[in-house]
């Protein structure tokens, strides 16, 4: 579970879905091999995915990893 002291990872999945002709959460979920609930959790910032899933999501949108996920290190 995310804690305040840990680095924060945000994402632009919702925005990128919108720019891909309103791609549905279900379609993205099938494409990257997860459940729709996980896409919902990702968009809500309730879950940080594994590196493999992050790459799959970036590939599904045809963009680089850093265009989907942003790392915010609070310690810096």
């Amino acid at each position: 579970m995310p804690s305040k002291s840990r680095p924060l990872v945000t994402n632009r999945i919702r925005e990128l879905r919108f720019h891909r002709g309103e791609m549905t959460q279900e379609r993205l979920a099938v494409q990257v091999g997860v459940t729709r609930q996980t896409i919902i959790a990702l968009e809500a910032g309730k879950y940080v995915p594994s590196l493999l899933l992050a790459f799959r999501i970036a590939a599904a949108f045809g963009v680089g990893l850093d265009e989907v996920f942003q790392f915010h290190d609070k310690a810096r």
Binding site: M1, P2, V9, A29, V30, G33, V34, T35, R36, Q37, T38, A41, K46, Y47, V48, P49, S50, L53
Partner: protein, 134 residues
């Protein structure tokens, strides 16, 4: 919309509750034999049906596996703590000889605690947010 793990957790929780109520309600009439009501726990095996795959849709993914794993760790932890407490309390309750029925029934009680804790922890994680996949 619930995931397969969430559905199974709710199902297990209901089965454990029904088994517990059955045992408690039969106890005045059957005594120690009321533990036969624990046979209802066998219904938990039907939980596997929630993992039935429909077409290309994924039923369980990495997040579900993480939630399940953490729930199991919690469940085994709780069962272990309860076991230690029971071992410490038993001599005070029964003296030098613990009835064999208590020992036998404790297996069923431990199983019920395991299932209930696992289900509750899984459901709480779905509600609050899963552990990150690090």
């Amino acid at each position: 919309m619930m995931s397969a793990v969430q559905k199974q957790a709710w199902f297990n929780l209901i089965v454990v509750a029904v088994a517990a109520v059955t045992i408690i309600s039969l106890y005045p009439w059957l005594g120690a034999r009321a533990i036969g009501g624990a046979g209802i726990l066998g219904l938990c095996g039907l939980g596997a049906l929630f993992h039935w795959r429909h077409g290309r849709r994924v039923v369980i993914d990495e997040r579900d596996e993480l939630i399940n794993r953490r729930a199991m760790v919690w469940a085994y932890g709780v069962v272990w703590v309860v076991f230690i407490i029971a071992v410490l309390i038993a001599p005070r309750l029964f003296g030098d000889s613990v009835p064999i029925a208590v020992v036998q029934n404790s297996v069923w009680v431990a199983f019920m605690i395991l299932l209930a804790t696992q289900s509750i922890v899984a459901l709480v994680q779905y509600r609050l947010g899963a552990p990150d996949a690090e």
